[in-house]
Symmetry: C2
Subunit: 512 residues, 2 copies
């Protein structure tokens, strides 16, 4: 069930993985002219307020920010404080993701400064949306889907405000250095290319040229210098931690063993693995196997972190193609090593492109909150029905050659494998393997993998068997109850609507 | 005098340096979809013919190539041989520049395979056009103007054929390695972004990822591997040569002295200098002064070459922002040194952008075939009226802070300073200084420079005095005679038509 209109735009319902054929042309900005910009390239103005006013900010506009600063972002709050001060109303906030630090924006949603958030809503904002309090619909997109939506003109950004750890007065910017260093700035790439007006806010101004220019000054209107744009210890962690949970370590080891057994770990292979505790453990087990076999990976897609950097520096991984940097070692490596490359949602994930990197990855490790018997999975809502996570690159990564979901069989006595996912985020035909602490299920579509595990010692089960086992232990949990009020939609990578999220039935339970 | 229509498009006459305000939006390609491309990213097809056919090539299409291979290009001829073999007619060839090696394309213009060349026409093609033999008009654009024309939709490229020294099967490509290494591929950037179909032709296929991706595979439709795509020794010279002419050396030294005297050589300054013999000598003199003063340049814009690379490696220049690489040392440096950066016509020169790099350069050294008493200059025709050169980045560089034209007072007994330039390519208000072997003329608009040379030993003269001196020595040459048939137009950086080139009056003289 998909609403006909979402935030004033007609929707197209999901039509299957590769079936929807887009029409029309990419979005196009008005032709700019150097005559309207200082010839000496200096676009610095006094402060963010002046930049916003010069950019022609008005009520009802769509304003974007990026989430490379994660829970250490100071710019979104400052931005909306200025907007409130200017007396503007009904803004659309279009972040590449939101974090708990953005909880104070609920006040701005309440007083009408912000009409709705068009982007992932984690934690407090997710709860606010799930309880039916937001005026517009939430629209959840993958990283690639956000690029696609901007590129295709589905979302028009009036003003992009890009927090930049390093920049010059021309507007060239990167995330590699400075007190707020975050690695890549590429989640803001589409914003810089397609927004009418682009404002760079930095706390580390350097003389032209700021190199590399992850964001190109040629797309920037104004540059603002502020004292402090982020909280370093909340932007990246000093160190990333491998899980210490014996169950998770076992799942990680089993995942690595599975990959080895079915022949996925061959010289020149590639893998994508996140920076969560289990993913890190899997990469580490991969490393052990690679050393033993004397092979190396051609590239790893990341979420970079110290463990992956160590593997590259040891020579186990030739290239890191990195969408976002999770710790200080990741940033150092991206700054120093030309084989550690900042990739963008355009190169990696954009589905409305002449191909992208996602399909070239041999082994993709992802998580899920729920998986159903058809291997369909959910990543945005909890089993209690609350919006909890953004999609991130999850949907995009499903196009990898072998997609593996290492998940615990249950969390807080709630089984992960269910009859039907609360929210349908990813089609089962793209999900190949589920690895749990009590066995591995292989999607029947992957006959090749089923063949290759024959005779192995791996604990292969059907997904039904895994589900029954979990339910024997935990029982079958009650389903969350919803009203018929739609609060958000989930987009597929091609811009179609794959599922709808409904308001939680009051009285609001907080069964976390 | 400007024709109303050029090759079927309405023209806008030149309106002054910064006066024309563009309307409309940037060109936009049809929305692509990954569904139409192989999921594993492998876009390789058998050969160029198959790629062209799959790209839907038809009579009348506009096909582009780049000129990074200079006189060693093998692809343009191969391309049109296939087009002729396919029996297609009336193609528009839209190169980023043409070279003497493209002379055989005159046959294709003769037999109707090519309707006209929309791009610079050097040597034999220039002569062919000047003599009124080409069906359509020649349209001469600067490097930045070519980007602008594509971006603004003035020229729509149906198929871009991009020769790539290194590429992967996804279409990521660069010019840094392989037998045909040429350095940057950025003259083909706009082609890759805006053409309907993009074909990469390489003789050096590497496993994904081909890094760095100067051309992004996400914009590429097909990849072709051929045995040999260029002639290395004609792509770049092994070594670049400083002029040995005493006159030219004197001009170079005088130019450097002038810059020092007026205070342009200060710590953190920037300069742009080409790879011609005189320009190289000027850079070398700059180096001497910098060593003596203990200063360094923040960046040099290039045309890179061994001399500039040596300066960077010595620590005299922090960054090289490089539009094209002229010798093997330039290529090595761009490959190895992250502070030697391949820039594109988008970053450096595109006038229909939110600023570009051109205006940030302190000292710009350029050439000219003719300069008039108002400092207007010509770079495309010789004093005999024949089309000889492309504009290159020349018009774009005029936006630098101080533009200096070091030129001999006469060439082959033809004075360079004239009453009126044969072709008006650059407005005198942007040209600051003329340095000749017999004196320096400063544009009266630059009162600051005139003040700063007061009391110096520099041989300052008026441009009128320089002209008289040349005419005393050489006499006043006869003007070329033209018919009233227009053969080409010259565009200004904003897409307006700044001048018109007429057919040479027959009988054709070959007074070179």
């Amino acid at each position: 069930m998909v609403p006909e209109m979402v935030n004033g735009r007609k929707t197209i319902p999901y039509q299957g993985v590769d079936n929807y054929k887009p029409e029309g042309v990419f979005a196009a900005r008005p032709v700019a002219s150097c005559a309207d910009y200082p010839r000496d390239g200096n676009k610095q103005v006094k402060d963010l307020k002046e930049a916003l006013v010069k950019a022609g900010i008005k009520s009802g506009m769509t304003i974007s920010t990026h989430h490379h600063f994660r829970d250490g972002d100071l710019i979104a709050l400052r931005l909306f404080a200025i907007i409130r001060e200017l007396g503007l109303k009904d803004m659309v906030w279009f972040p590449s993701a939101s974090f708990p630090c953005h909880a104070p924006l609920i006040d701005y949603l309440e007083d009408g400064t912000i009409h709705h958030v068009e982007g992932s809503m984690n934690g407090p904002l997710g709860r606010y949306c799930s309880e039916g309090n937001m005026k517009g619909f939430g629209v959840l997109r993958s990283h690639g889907g956000r690029y696609q939506a901007i590129q295709d003109g589905e979302v028009h950004i009036d003003i992009a405000v890009i927090a930049a750890p390093t920049a010059d007065t021309f507007g060239n910017a990167n995330g590699l250095s400075g007190p707020s260093a975050c690695g890549s700035l590429n989640f803001a790439l589409a914003d810089s290319q397609y927004a009418d007006r682009v404002i760079i806010v930095t706390d580390n101004l350097v003389p032209f040229p700021c190199v590399p220019w992850q964001i190109q000054g040629n797309n920037v209107d104004f540059v603002v210098v502020e004292d402090k744009i982020g909280i370093p210890e909340k932007i990246v962690s000093g160190t990333t931690q491998i899980t210490r949970s014996p169950d998770r370590l076992f799942i990680a080891e089993l995942t690595a063993k599975f990959c080895e057994t079915v022949g996925l770990l061959e010289d020149g292979f590639s893998f994508q693995s996140g920076a969560g505790g289990t993913s890190l453990a899997i990469s580490t087990y991969f490393g052990d196997i690679m050393r033993e076999k004397g092979i190396k990976a051609r590239f790893a897609r990341a979420g970079s972190n110290q463990f992956l950097v160590e593997m590259m520096e040891e020579g186990l991984v030739e290239y890191i193609l990195d969408g976002q940097t999770f710790d200080l070692e990741g940033i150092r490596s991206m700054r120093e090593n030309p084989m550690h490359i900042a990739t963008s949602p355009f190169t990696s994930y954009n589905y409305h492109s002449k191909g992208n990197f996602a399909g070239m990855v041999d082994i993709v490790i992802l998580g899920a909150t729920e998986i159903d018997l058809q291997y369909n999975a959910n990543v945005v809502t909890h089993s209690d029905g609350y919006l909890l996570h953004g999609i991130g690159g999850w949907q995009n990564c499903l196009f990898g050659k072998t997609v593996i979901l290492p998940v615990p069989l249950f969390r807080d006595r709630i089984p992960v494998i269910v009859d039907e996912v609360t929210t349908f985020c990813g089609p089962g035909e793209l999900i190949d393997v589920i690895v749990t602490e009590r066995g591995i299920a292989i999607n029947p579509l992957r006959k090749d993998l089923l063949d290759r595990v024959k005779g192995s010692a791996l604990p292969i089960k059907t997904i039904g068997e895994l589900k029954e086992e979990a339910e024997r232990i935990c029982g079958k949990p009650e389903k969350p109850r919803f009203t018929d009020k739609i609060v958000a939609v989930v987009k597929w990578v091609d811009g179609t609507v794959i599922d709808t999220i409904f308001q939680i039935q009051p009285p609001h339970q907080t069964n976390n």
